[in-house]
């Protein structure tokens, strides 16, 4: 083997490590700026109409809702899947209350006992305009929910515009949701 070839071969590992290193650096930068989320879950329903459903309400919180009622809305609605047993959902509540001053949020209690979900929602004041109970998680499957909390932005007419799989807060609202409302 001649020496140039040897030199090139022994330089290969550092080139490979360098490429990987630059990639990792980009990822870390993206994680800090929010552009790269390794835990992001792509929901295949984004851009599609909402699935059909009809769900009962929670005790003391009205009648629940159906896909027809959601489609009939004239304003965009944020649909939020939550559960009383879910810690991020508890942390999300103050954020949801502040978002609810700007737009209606419809809540769906996922795999939760109705009385627990009702008490949870009413504990510090409900952020939800309407609440329904998905007792056995069937509706969540149609929506492609992988866990709670997850949220969907639904345009008037019932098309899903955006999906988020993290606990919502005002920053996410400003960065992800509000720009999309402007386009409607």
């Amino acid at each position: 083997m001649n020496s140039t070839r040897r030199g090139l071969l022994t330089a290969l590992p550092i080139v490979g490590a360098g490429v990987l290193g630059v990639g990792f650096w980009k990822m870390l930068q993206g994680m800090e700026s929010g552009g790269f989320d390794p835990r992001a879950v792509k929901n295949p329903n984004v851009g599609r109409p909402i699935p059909q459903f009809a769900m009962p309400g929670l005790p003391g919180l009205g009648d629940g809702f159906t896909d027809k009622e959601l489609r009939a809305e004239t304003r965009p609605v944020l649909v939020n899947f939550f559960a009383s047993w879910c810690i991020p959902c508890v942390q999300e509540m103050p954020g949801l209350r502040s978002i609810s001053r700007n737009m209606p949020i419809w809540g769906i209690a996922y795999e939760d006992k109705p009385e627990n979900a009702s008490a949870f929602v009413q504990r510090d004041g409900t952020p939800y305009a309407r609440v329904a109970s998905d007792r056995h998680g069937r509706v969540a499957i149609d929506w492609g929910v992988t866990g709670v909390p997850e949220s969907f932005l639904v345009a008037p007419g019932g098309r899903i515009l955006w999906h988020g799989s993290a606990a919502l807060d005002p920053q996410i609202y400003e960065a992800e949701i509000r720009p999309r409302l402007a386009g409607l």
Binding site: S3, F24, M31, P38
Partner: protein
């Protein structure tokens, strides 16, 4: 005496000592100043002492419930059992980084203590490299993950620990695994020192191998323990999920295994030198990057540490220095290393080259599968996941020739083998493997498990017959055979044992491919059958534990009416942490595991039904048992006297004469 401030100070002191350990011996070696080089062992030992004080201080903070220390407040609680107060110290990010540096300190001190027969200059350089790595990680610990940070006002009680982590298996898993990861720092330091020196010879191969083998033993045990933990604690009935964190431990294991084998070729034939140096650098680099990728949150894993990109940037810089620096040195100096003689493809060294090619191919597959999702997301913006189907499909075809070669390799002599003679040596093993193939047809289903099972038997048979042939079975008297077996190098026994262990693990994996399970929802008193056994739910009762409430089920398992065992799986509800854990019940006879999990209760009173998960896992214990046998084999070869005494002395005097 051992408070948080003392611990913090000791850590800072260790960091300063590590920096001196990095700079002074390198400078001394450069200037050929023997006195400066001779400082290195003292510095390594004093650095370890400072680190030990620091680590002990953190343990004392946890034991004495000093909740003014942020780390203790966040991860401990006054009501926690003492054992978990101690082991909980390394169950979180900050504490585990401190443990990591402590183990690195132990490695440095071990080189100082056991490396007395090394040439002084080489030992000085090795310790300097270890000191540099230590200093970097201690800085990381001090600047971004300080375990001694205080909170004011101090809370009355801590936030407690994840109940999943309150398990003896997990308590001792991290130290063993980290010793494996960090242990490969020593071969790495040897490689960098050799590149600095510009010389790799047979003696270098002999010095580096025991360190690589020791680290490999710990890593093997660590991986086996982790897999066992996920089997009996997580309650999914699985043992390996190709999760990024698991892959992060498998990747250095694969290159480390290749290193352990290629260093033999350096020692015996002065071949594969550049390659071995690269493997030593690569193994430690993979250990480091695995830790980094998990801590920074780039890899999406179930084993979540608190993610902090800022921390990630620091550690990425550190990795760039350590890995980039060593690889740059490699690119610069490796071409000047002279390589040894030519090999014949059919020889011991030829089979070791094949072993390296196959192990590194498997490693490349695992690296690709692990790195594909984040890079795909970065470059194409698509989220995808790479899972079990890819890894199984890509690694098993590479494992088959590896197993085949494992059997042949040990039967081949160095330099050049005569095929006919080798075949006659392997004849008995081949017959045993053929019988094994029939057995596998009978017991396993599916082409791959049958093929792998037969090959595992082949590996074990070839290892046993090779040892028997060497002690002269068949043409010697009993006393001659005993004498020969005593004279046989320990490393040969170790290799045979390790190969047998690998065979046992592969058989376990093949057995598990035939695992059966059922998820049933039944009333108390009902019976369901699974693979010929009848599982009856006898009773379910609730009871209160120290900090949880539990629902315990009694499940009787009968085979043809004869009671085999009664399992008592539990579901525990930790009210303060709002978390539920499942306590799996396992009955094993070392051939088959019967594995029961109790899930949700639906309905109330006599009408209530219970969700049960029932598993029948053939040969499951063999997977971890094999890992243990492999590690014992490695430990056995460490006790080989050639590794402890002999040639190195002469080299040492020659080196000092040059200085």
């Amino acid at each position: 005496m051992f408070g948080p401030e003392q611990g913090h100070f000791a850590l800072a002191l260790a960091c300063v000592l590590a920096l001196i350990q990095f700079v002074v011996p390198l400078w001394g070696a450069h200037k050929r100043n023997a006195r400066l080089v001779a400082l290195a062992p003292f510095l390594a030992v004093s650095q370890l002492l400072a680190l030990a004080i620091s680590f002990f201080s953190l343990i004392m903070c946890a034991v004495h419930d000093d909740f003014s220390v942020q780390n203790v407040a966040a991860n401990s609680a006054a009501s926690k059992p003492l054992l978990y107060k101690i082991t909980g110290v390394w169950g979180n990010h900050e504490g585990s980084v401190l443990l990591w540096t402590l183990i690195l300190g132990v490695c440095g001190a071990a080189v100082a203590a056991f490396g007395r027969n090394l040439p002084d200059i080489l030992r000085g350089r090795v310790l300097a490299v270890l000191g540099g790595v230590s200093a970097g990680f201690q800085l990381f610990c001090l600047l971004t993950s300080n375990p001694f940070d205080r909170v004011f006002p101090a809370p009355m009680d801590g936030q407690g620990m994840n109940p999943l982590l309150q398990d003896p298996g997990l308590a001792f898993h991290p130290p063993i695994l980290y010793t494996g990861y960090v242990g490969f720092a020593v071969p790495f330091a040897f490689a960098v020192a050799a590149l600095l020196e510009g010389r790799v010879d047979a003696a270098w191969g002999r010095w580096v191998r025991p360190w690589a083998v020791a680290a490999w033993c710990f890593l093997t045990c660590g991986i086996a323990l982790g897999s066992w933990w996920s089997y009996y604690v997580l309650g999914w009935g699985g043992y390996w999920f190709w999760d990024p964190v698991e892959n992060a431990s498998l990747i250095p294991w694969l290159t480390g295994t290749a290193l352990v084998h290629s260093a033999i070729v350096v020692e015996k034939r002065e071949g594969l030198k550049i390659w071995t140096v690269l493997l030593a650098i690569a193994t430690f680099s993979f250990s480091l990057s695995g830790t980094f990728l998990v801590r920074s949150g780039i890899l999406n894993s179930v084993h979540a540490f608190a993610n902090d990109p800022a921390r990630g940037v620091f550690i990425l810089g550190l990795l760039a220095l350590v890995i980039g620096g060593s690889l740059a040195l490699f690119a610069w100096r490796a071409p000047s290393l002279t390589s040894g003689g030519l090999f014949s493809p059919v020889s011991r060294e030829g089979s070791l080259v094949l072993n390296n090619i196959l192990l590194c191919s498997i490693c490349a597959v695992v690296v690709t599968g692990t790195m594909y999702p984040p890079f795909m997301q970065l470059l194409a913006g698509r989220t995808i996941s790479v899972g079990k189907p890819f890894f199984d499909a890509a690694t098993i075809p590479l494992t088959i020739p590896l197993l085949l070669a494992m059997g042949v390799g040990t039967a081949l002599p160095w330099k050049r083998a005569q095929l006919a003679r080798t075949f006659s040596h392997l004849f008995v093993a081949a017959i045993i493997a053929a019988v094994g193939l029939v057995l596998c047809f009978w017991k396993f289903s599916g082409a791959l498990p049958i093929a792998c099972g037969a090959l595992a038997i082949w590996v074990m048979a070839a290892s046993v017959t090779d040892i028997l042939r060497r002690v002269g079975l068949g043409h010697s008297s009993m006393s001659e055979m005993l004498a020969r077996s005593r004279n046989l190098p320990r490393s040969s026994w170790g290799a045979a044992l390790a190969h047998i262990g690998a065979g046992i693990t592969v058989l376990g994996l093949c057995g598990m491919s035939g695992a059966q399970h059922a998820i049933v929802e039944i009333h108390v008193g009902e019976t369901r059958s699974l693979a010929g056994d009848d599982w009856t739910l006898l009773n379910v009762h609730d009871y209160a534990g120290p900090n949880y409430r539990a629902m315990q089920a009694d499940i009787a398992i009968r085979h043809n009416g004869r009671l085999i065992t009664t399992l008592h799986p539990e579901k525990r509800d930790f009210t303060t942490q709002n978390q539920t854990t499942t306590e799996v019940a396992i009955h094993t006879n070392f051939i088959t595991d019967l594995y029961g999990v109790v899930g949700d209760r639906h309905g109330t009173g006599a009408d209530a039904t219970y969700v049960l998960r029932l598993h029948r896992n053939p040969l499951a214990p063999w997977m971890w048992l094999g890992g243990l046998v492999m590690a014992i084999g490695g430990a056995f070869s460490l006790s080989d006297r050639r590794l402890r005494v002999g040639a190195p002395k002469r080299a040492a005097t020659r080196n000092m004469a040059q200085a």
